[in-house]
Symmetry: C2
Subunit: 149 residues, 2 copies
């Protein structure tokens, strides 16, 4: 099996840069949404604003675990630099998955998510060291098409 | 915001152990599905068999990028140890996301996926070094419920 991978395809993925850090002393998990690159790959209209939604899942009904950045106008690189803090024990955190979605809000204020990534926290570091990485975003439209097959 | 995290919750997540390695000389990406733990957390009937499905996404129509392990009877720890090879260039691989799903097949041979993980390959190592990690699985039923909210 060989992928027909050309450069067009290689350049074509939207990516989000996220940093995470667990502060064991204060039992606080910090999620820093840094930036979004190549958001155009998610087939956006140019006049939309884009925000990033992060959720620590699964989430108990009694707690809130969904956060949103401010919306930004579409451009090549969108700098968010927003931090969200979650109070959680280390054993509980290691059972969670961070879901990151890139969303727009239309005129009727309905949120539409264009693509996302899932980051397992099973091996998240407890030492307080910051992990900063880029994550590829899978297009929601692409996944819906796949699921219909 | 504080999570009410008790030990029951902490023990409750199904996890899959995956190893990955990129062989630059031969432009081959190896996915080793090692094992599955605590699959009962995905609310399975005890008499079902479980297989793991891995997909390298997005995938061009002309190529096959979906692999399945053999099905195993449910127990606490399911050892698969199956390797799948994908021929792909390093720049193309870095645009991909590995989607891992835990599935069952019912008597009418319909596949149902109970839970999954997504692993971004944006920062996959090109040196040939093997990365072996555990990944939490998010229950599909849980995600469907969340999406209806």
């Amino acid at each position: 099996m060989v992928f027909d991978s050309d450069d067009t395809e290689a350049a074509g993925t939207a990516k989000v840069q996220i940093a995470m850090r667990y502060d064991e002393k204060n039992k606080q998990f910090a999620i820093l949404v840094i930036q979004l690159s190549n958001v155009q790959a998610l087939l956006l209209q140019q006049d939309q604003k884009v925000n990033i939604r992060v959720a620590v899942l699964p989430c108990l009904e009694s707690t809130s675990c969904l956060f949103r950045t401010r919306p930004l106008e579409v451009s090549d690189n969108l700098m968010y630099n927003e931090v969200f803090w979650v109070s959680i024990s280390y054993p509980a955190l290691r059972q969670k998955t961070l879901r990151v979605d890139v969303c727009t809000v239309d005129k009727s204020r309905l949120e539409e998510c264009l693509g996302g990534a899932q980051i397992s926290l099973a091996e998240i570091c407890r030492s307080g060291e910051k992990s900063t990485r880029w994550y590829n975003l899978l297009s929601s439209k692409y996944l819906q098409k796949q699921n219909r097959k």
